[in-house]
Symmetry: C2
Subunit: 294 residues, 2 copies
Amino acid sequence: MNVAWIGTGVMGASMAGHLQRAGHALTVYSRTKAKSEALLAAGAAWRGSPRAAAEGADAVCTMVGYPADVREVILGRRGALAAMTRGALLIDFTTSRPDLAAEIASRAAARGVDALDAPVSGGDVGAREGRLSIMVGGEPAAYERALPLLQAFGKTIVLQGPPGAGQHTKMVNQILIASTMMGVVEAVRYAAASGLDAERVLQSVGGGAAASWSLQNLAPRMLKRNFDPGFYAKHLLKDLDIAIREARRMKLDLPALRLAQRRYRALVNGGWGDRGTHALLLLYEAMAARNGAT
Amino acid sequence: MNVAWIGTGVMGASMAGHLQRAGHALTVYSRTKAKSEALLAAGAAWRGSPRAAAEGADAVCTMVGYPADVREVILGRRGALAAMTRGALLIDFTTSRPDLAAEIASRAAARGVDALDAPVSGGDVGAREGRLSIMVGGEPAAYERALPLLQAFGKTIVLQGPPGAGQHTKMVNQILIASTMMGVVEAVRYAAASGLDAERVLQSVGGGAAASWSLQNLAPRMLKRNFDPGFYAKHLLKDLDIAIREARRMKLDLPALRLAQRRYRALVNGGWGDRGTHALLLLYEAMAARNGAT
């Protein structure tokens, strides 16, 4: 297929690379051209706007940062949709707003274009290894057509429902991650304050009912004081903001989610937005130091 | 060894049974004699008080409900310690207060008795299958002497530090469980409200960075509306109360733990204390219904 790929950050570049190696002809656009270098060196064509990249494409894939970016690269004046023709496929992999996904699907349908929202989970490693979980919202026929592309980098690929359902599913994922992370941070704080050897504590608590991916993968990084991003704190905050907005709309009270949002906002405001989500520990430490506590 | 076992609830009876099958001579006491029937039928001797059971024992094991029960069966007038002789071993498996564990160890030492706090994790299934995680606080020599007993039902057995360190480690475990459970409940609520098929959502989110033991084991029970206890909500509340008390003493601010404590208190006050910890979902639903929300 002729595939246009918009957005070549850490995730996008890995995912596009899998498509390229699977034999698809790539045309790319990214805000920072340097991030597309590896794809261009491997034969991808470059275009100066999402709209230019989308011309003649059988499928347009977007993987950008924030909902505003999604809106711009798809629906904007130089956005992809304006160049897409009847029968083409539009897949947004960005974690974004469910209502925006529905709006895009509706405006795409008006042009005869099938749109899917398909946010992913699995991080940089999952993208590199082609083992992402892809949560899809859209029409079943569009999903079937997209599957050969999704299979290039997805391991768990599930159609969750109509447009927006992929985003809602990703929100469920982030709600889980946020609460679990607070638990891991508070557990690490408690272990340290009570004089325990945290590494040894992990031996006791890591294999039972307290086990989680975050505990297994991120607690050891916290203990080594390695806060490099696997997933940016600022991006999790963006996701939590979306989830809170949706929860309000649905009149759902999710107090742990609200607490996590406040804490991650404080973390980002504190200058840690470009650290990993597990840098939440640094906020707890800073707040305690400010209060003269442990 | 001659082992006195005090407290034969679901966990205690399973654990004592493993000791019995490993060839130790058991003497038992429990508040409700009926709960000891299986052990008695298999050859255990019955005594009418912890003190009577402890007479002549090489090791006394306690597994009761609350810190007040621990105090009574060990330090009370008819408690075990008064009957124990120099060189005997006292192991409390109850999840209880770290400072009580330290007090017991100190009063035991004054009699020449070695005491260990050794709370467990792994639930009724782990106890039955002899695959518990045992978190031990106490002196290394006492730990070494206790190991043959602990190995009868423990899979992960770790000496965490001095008296009380086992209890502190268990608090770490419960802090993790409480936050993770709030995340699972809020995720289930969000999935339902947004019109997703929760079973299908679990396929997408269950295998990645959002994964946890609670999500894997308890979310499916929530979806089947099965709130039977694996672990009682009232017992988790007891543990959270202890953790909060300790956190205050250490001047640690753990807001997710505080939120969990408030929610579990409301759950128990609502009459759900004898349901499983995952019945937290029922509280969320009841609160929403009261507010006329989703």
